[in-house]
């Protein structure tokens, strides 16, 4: 009988054998994400004269399985910006929560209750809601996400996403930029992730090749182009869905509709496809 206190209440060694603590010792190196698991496909966005339009379908795939069909991949930030996520959905959720915390903390700073807040605190409460009270704009948010993603890649623990950020910059001009899992950041009048870069980007560039072209597009034009692109993506991207979310960011705020459906599909072209698939002739 073992009377030592550390043996109290434990299975007896002479009956059960000594405790096997090997599972507590992890001799393997720390591992991080090596591949995405549940994924979202393309996100596309185009600038127009008063803002940015962004779209992404509502599908989260588990490999080739269409696993979740009601997934919102466009997230508003402070009702002035939109963030669109492609890639791993759990990393997207992590980022969404993180940005939510960031937004709350930023609001504390703007409020001016903190000791250092004398400058901004004199803001009158009924100043126009669109005006930024020193809030983070889309350009700031994009820079922050870039640093975050680059930092994670440096620690070999990447957030497996490709992200588009839409909104306005400090000069109140429409802003659209991208950042990926390696922290590579860039901007362009139209942007697309994943298959969208191959299928949608050429279409969008027909309408907005340059910033000047984009500044001539109306909101309706931009929405029409984006809808057209979503249709092409649904035709050719096997990991896509005909239900999608559409966000329009203007100086008045963010307008996200999460129940868009692709209208007027025509699959006639599928008949003419030859060279792969099951047909023999």
């Amino acid at each position: 009988m073992d009377h030592r206190p550390q043996a109290w209440g434990r299975p007896r060694d002479d009956v059960y054998g000594p405790y096997d603590a090997s599972y507590l010792h992890n001799n393997q190196p720390k591992t991080a994400t090596q591949s995405p698991i549940v994924t979202g496909t393309s996100v596309i966005a185009i600038k127009f004269k008063d803002g940015v339009v962004m779209a992404a379908d509502n599908l989260a795939s588990y490999g080739s399985l269409a696993r979740f069909t009601d997934v919102k991949r466009l997230r508003p930030f402070l009702s002035t910006s939109v963030v669109g996520f492609g890639g791993d959905v759990s990393d997207m959720q992590f980022l969404d929560r993180h940005l939510n915390e960031l937004a709350i903390d930023e609001a504390y700073e703007a409020e001016g209750c903190s000791a250092g807040g004398l400058g901004s605190s004199a803001q009158e409460p009924d100043a126009s809601p669109g005006a930024s009270k020193g809030q983070l704009n889309a350009a700031n948010l994009h820079k922050y996400l870039t640093k975050l993603m680059y930092r994670r890649r440096n620690s070999f623990d990447p957030l497996w996403n490709q992200i588009l950020v839409a909104g306005f910059d400090s000069a109140s001009a429409p802003f659209l930029a991208s950042v990926d899992l390696r922290g590579t950041a860039f901007t362009s009048p139209s942007l697309a992730t994943g298959y969208g870069a191959m299928l949608a980007q050429p279409i969008m560039r027909k309408y907005a090749a340059t910033e000047e072209d984009a500044a001539k597009l109306t909101r309706d034009d931009a929405v029409r182009v984006v809808r057209e692109c979503m249709k092409v993506l649904f035709y050719r991207d096997a990991r896509s869905l005909d239900r999608f979310s559409l966000a329009v960011v203007t100086r008045d705020g963010v307008d996200i509709s999460e129940d868009e459906v692709l209208e007027q599909q025509s699959w006639a072209f599928a008949e003419r496809i030859r060279g792969y698939g099951t047909q023999t002739v």
Binding site: Q34, Y62, F156, F186, S188, A197
Partner: protein, 265 residues
């Protein structure tokens, strides 16, 4: 799963499927996925030192495999100015290779130059900045910045200075240097046109007796044309180069920036 996000068709196998999920203690034949922290964003840079000026140039295309991510993504950065628009900067850094590393490298060097100016009350000399950049790069010797950097400015005597680097900090001062995707296309052209390599005075002799053409510093105008020609040539033969040409001309009166169109195909 690099293939899923790579837009390079060469790298693309069949796309991600359940079978590809990593398995622990996998049997033989199992593939292990590893995150590759690097990628090549293409593009090319070029710098030439003149007698009292230096010219830095780079295209503005940002690629990922066969895709063009952006047609305007600058590779040239003014370094060490006191303001956000860097209007009083005296040094230019160009980075080409992996864009995220390039950006990080630029921000670090810029911050260091700003600290130097704050502490010493004068801008950093190109020579000092060049050495510091080497130290930064070597500091990440075992997880390098995948970026080919070129630094340009005017030296203490007012002469154009160009320093070129490899990703881990080896550097030397040169008359001219091309970097990035089309470096191997541009560099021989520069050897011939800037350093007059393989240019001999006609009928000056046979074999070793041939007299080399006398080297002389090029004028600013000549260099600008040379740069444009070099890039036009590179655009023609290299798919990762194109869209726009950004040039920065460093003289004692400041840094002048020129943007020229390149072929967008």
């Amino acid at each position: 799963m690099a293939a899923m996000f790579s837009q390079n068709p060469l790298m693309n196998g069949p796309n991600y499927s359940v079978n590809d999920a990593p398995r622990i203690g996998a049997p033989e034949g199992a593939r292990e996925h590893r995150f590759d922290p690097y990628t090549d964003n293409g593009g090319s840079t070029l710098a030439i030192a003149g007698a009292d000026f230096a010219i830095m140039a780079g295209d503005t295309r940002l690629t990922s495999g066969y895709s063009i991510n952006s047609r305007f993504h600058p590779k040239l950065f003014k370094i060490g100015g006191t303001t956000a628009d860097q209007k009083d900067a005296t040094i230019v850094l160009s980075v080409v290779g992996f864009a995220a590393d390039g950006e990080a490298l630029k921000e670090r060097l810029d911050a260091i130059c700003k600290m130097y100016r704050y502490r010493h009350g004068k801008p950093m000399s190109v020579k000092a900045c060049a050495q510091r950049l080497s130290t930064i790069l070597y500091g990440k010797r075992f997880f390098p910045y995948y970026a080919y950097a070129i630094l340009a400015g005017l030296d203490e005597e007012g002469k154009g200075a160009v320093y070129s680097y490899d990703p881990v900090g080896s550097y030397e001062r040169e008359q001219c240097r091309a970097g990035g995707a089309a470096a191997s296309l541009i560099m021989p052209f520069l050897d011939n046109q800037v350093n007059f390599k393989n240019q001999y005075i006609p009928n000056s002799g046979e074999g070793h007796a041939l007299v080399e053409r006398e080297r002389r510093p090029l004028t600013r105008r000549e260099v600008e044309i040379l740069v444009k020609d070099a890039f036009d040539g590179a655009v023609e033969r290299h798919i990762e180069v194109g869209d726009g040409l950004q040039m920065m001309i460093i003289t004692k009166s400041g840094i002048e920036e020129v943007l020229l169109p390149l072929k967008k195909d």
